[in-house]
């Protein structure tokens, strides 16, 4: 118990040193739980605590699990609406991020990696967006996630905005890829909060597929808008 208190104090003093730790250690080391996220009196508590991560892949560099892991930077953790806005307002919007950047907002304790135990049987819905839409769409998706609008219990793991050269990709990850009730409810909520036309084709990928394939075997699916689909893949770090 006392060690927990000490760890907590250390984190309060310098949260970014904890983040440096995680980028230098082996993946196993990072499974150790961080202390609970504080909610200030008067703040509006969220159903879950979350962590914001940032990653950027050096263009042209073949990504591996290891360097993906090392590129993940913890920006902060929050469990209240107010602290979420505190972080969010100091993050650049997706439209202003460099290509190959990803922002991940995941439930506290779940790393935004397929290898995490919460993700390994899971999958993700993928929405491909024409340039110019990402900032607004991303905000709507995360507000729906934080506000528990998906109505799928504990199934949501997190959401990612991936800024790429010609398009931006929003993904929502859930725990159980085989749970059709859950995945279709997530899809419908995404369509609703993104205000997508009813006939928008969305792609669901299990993380297993992502691990095994660099390019999908799926037929090319139309995006929200008309630009040709670039060869860049969000998951090419594997």
């Amino acid at each position: 118990m006392s060690t927990m208190v000490n760890k907590y104090d250390a984190l309060k003093g310098s949260e970014d040193s904890g983040e440096e730790d995680s980028s230098n250690r082996e993946p196993k080391d990072m499974d150790k739980p961080l202390p609970p996220v504080e909610v200030k009196p008067g703040d509006h508590r969220l159903q879950f605590a979350y962590a914001i991560w940032f990653s950027r892949r050096a263009p042209g560099k073949q990504a591996t699990t290891q360097n993906y892991d090392q590129n993940l930077k913890l920006i902060g953790r929050f469990a209240s609406v107010e602290l979420f806005w505190g972080y969010y307002s100091r993050l650049v919007r997706p439209a202003d991020l460099n290509s190959h950047s990803d922002i991940h907002i995941f439930k506290d304790g779940i790393k935004p990696m397929w290898e995490d135990s919460a993700n390994k049987n899971g999958g993700k819905w993928i929405v491909r967006l024409r340039k110019g839409l990402a900032s607004r769409c991303w905000e709507n998706v995360i507000l729906a996630m934080l506000g528990e609008q998906f109505m799928v219990g504990d199934e949501i793991c997190g959401a990612v905005i991936s800024v790429r050269f010609q398009e931006d990709i929003i993904s929502v990850w859930n725990r159980t890829a085989q749970d059709n009730t859950t995945t279709s409810r997530i899809r419908d909520t995404l369509k609703r909060v993104l205000n997508l036309p009813p006939n928008t084709v969305m792609e669901y990928k299990t993380h297993n597929d992502s691990l095994n394939l660099t390019y999908p075997c799926l037929p090319l699916l139309p995006r929200y808008t008309g630009l040709p689909r670039p060869p860049l893949r969000y998951d090419s770090h594997h």
């Binding site: 309060k12 310098s14 949260e15 970014d16 983040e19 200030k40 008067g42 703040d43 509006h44 508590r45 969220l46 159903q47 940032f54 930077k73 913890l74 920006i75 902060g76 929050f78 609406v81 107010e82 602290l83 979420f84 806005w85 505190g86 972080y87 969010y88 307002s89 100091r90 993050l91 650049v92 919007r93 439209a95 991020l97 460099n98 950047s101 024409r130 110019g132 839409l133 900032s135 607004r136 905000e139 709507n140 507000l143 729906a144 934080l146 506000g147 528990e148 609008q149 109505m151 219990g153 419908d188 369509k191 609703r192 909060v193 036309p197 009813p198 006939n199 929200y224 808008t225």
Partner: protein, 117 residues
């Protein structure tokens, strides 16, 4: 997609659980919210299978955006050039309010109303 928030809530609660759904009586169409992300009656909290869940509608979250607590910079925010900034001006023009985004392409809007034509 077109289910009302109340109906969605009912679907979410269609499992054999003893927690009753919250019901909001609507007497006229004008009492309906303008968008699907709002709940009639301004629900902030709701009961769901497995216990009470803290549910926030988008509008409510947006209202809290400019509260003093939300404007306080978080402690220990790592500064990553091009990603985070201590002051909100550099990261978000107009304090993070997304207003100057390019408009949605017209065809995206139009396609939703194809059925009406």
């Amino acid at each position: 997609m077109s289910a009302s928030p109340v109906a969605r809530q009912a679907v979410a609660q269609a499992q054999p659980q003893t927690i009753p759904p919250r019901r909001v009586t609507i007497n006229s169409p004008s009492e309906l919210p303008n968008d699907y992300s709002s709940t009639p009656g301004g629900t902030l909290f709701s009961t769901t299978p497995g216990g009470t869940r803290i549910i926030y509608e988008r509008n409510f979250l947006m209202q809290l955006r400019n509260s003093p607590l939300a404007r306080t910079p978080p402690k220990n925010l790592p500064v990553i050039p091009g990603v985070t900034a201590k002051d909100t001006e550099t990261s978000h023009r107009e304090n993070g309010t997304i207003v100057e985004e390019p408009e949605k392409p017209e065809n995206a809007d139009d396609s939703q109303f194809e059925m009406d034509l």
